[in-house]
Amino acid sequence: MDDAGPSARRGGNSIPVDDATGAYGASGFVDSLDGLGTEEVASDVVLLRRVWQNEKCAPEILPYDASLVERVREQVQLMEENIEAFATEIKDDLMLSLYRMDVNRTLFLLRSYLRARLSKIERHPIHIIDNQELWDRLSEQEQEYTNKYCEVLAKHFEQTVLIRLPEQYGSMLKQTSLASEENDMITQPQLNTFVCCRSRGAIGSFQLDDKGDESVDLMTNDLYILRYKPIRRLLETDQIELI
């Protein structure tokens, strides 16, 4: 992380002003919480920020980063305890409010990350349940939520509309049992949509279609607007990030 350097150094004795530097600035604050073993907070917060950003930008649901969330939550708790101790020992309101701001920002990232995932689940619940690969990307709690959500969803559609229709038309998954053999009413995310992404390393020439007619040279730290589908494997292996 080359660009983390200056703002992280600056963070120790000044206030990062805009949101973009928030996560990097965090490392600065943490450094000044002397010897509290919070060295790795910074890197995890930066990681969370990337995971969150990817989740927000990708059209489909991405694998849940359970261990990262776990670590961040432990660290937030640790920091909250430290702040409490700090508040009773030293009455420095400015420093205190800076520490609080830092914790609040991390919590915001975490909440926003989980919210973004819920909203994707709610958009395509049945598609996710039907697709083993997507289903495995959810956390245990999210799986439970998806099941419950589907249940109330189906019940509501059933009782409001479907029960009133002629029998052959009363399915939530098929338009009609007369003609459709497959479930043709399940919405799916549009994977061919365009996304903005940044290459995290020099990947070199990358093919955007099966035929090899279209390819792009991916250079380190360059920005691209590409279709999501061909590059989703690069996202999985963390070679690019979405912005």
Binding site: M101, E142, Y145, H156, T160
Partner: protein, 199 residues
């Protein structure tokens, strides 16, 4: 019978208006909804009539008119189904927002505008979300905007009396203005007891 699909289109327009209205929650348009359901039944009746008249091995020129007519009726049923579901779906997404914006208990003026099944849906959705948030032990409905400042200035609207804030007892008298942490203020703002005060 009225023009095919006209009522359905009206219902979709109603759905669009439901989504566009932000200051209140439009009541469930039962009249229009019932009309579309009724129309769908009529279409289906005609469809069955046509189907029964289709003769196999009919060699009339230009195909069997019963078949063509039946297709039109069939498509109309499908279209109406789409319209009905779209209307219910649009309202459903509004109802989900209510859970995030107003919490688990809705004020009476909104509840009155929901249909009975919609109230059941809200309850079910609210329970699912609450138990998810309890499982992960994190309230996701607060903190919806990136925090600029850990403290906010608020004005008291409701009568709160003595409240424990940040482990200190504070007296929140109506119309008084205070500084408090955002996380403590947000639930109270959601309940309508406080408002964010921009001086």
């Amino acid at each position: 019978m009225a023009m095919f699909g006209k009522k359905g289109a009206e219902l979709v327009r109603e759905a669009k208006q439901t989504l566009a209205t932000t200051d209140q929650f439009r009541p469930f348009n039962k009249d229009l909804f019932e009309q579309v359901v009724k129309e769908t039944e009529e279409h289906y009746g005609h469809l069955q009539e046509r189907m029964s008249q289709i003769r196999v091995n009919d060699s009339t020129e230009g195909g069997d008119p019963n078949f063509v007519g039946g297709c039109a009726q069939h498509r109309s049923v499908l279209r109406n189904k789409r319209c009905l579901l779209a209307y219910v779906n649009a309202r459903m997404s509004k109802i989900k927002h209510l859970r995030w914006d107003l919490g688990a208990v809705l004020p009476d003026d909104i509840t009155g505008n929901l249909s009975a099944t919609e109230r059941t849906f809200f309850q079910g959705y609210s329970d699912a979300l609450s138990s998810y948030m309890a499982e992960i032990n994190l309230d996701l409905t607060v903190d919806s905007t990136p925090p600029k400042d850990p403290y906010v200035q608020i004005r008291v609207i409701g009568n709160l009396g003595e409240v424990l804030l940040d482990d200190q007892e504070t007296s929140l008298l109506p119309h008084s203005i205070h500084f408090m942490t955002r996380t403590e203020a947000e639930p109270l703002v959601m309940q309508g007891l406080l408002e964010i005060y921009q001086g």
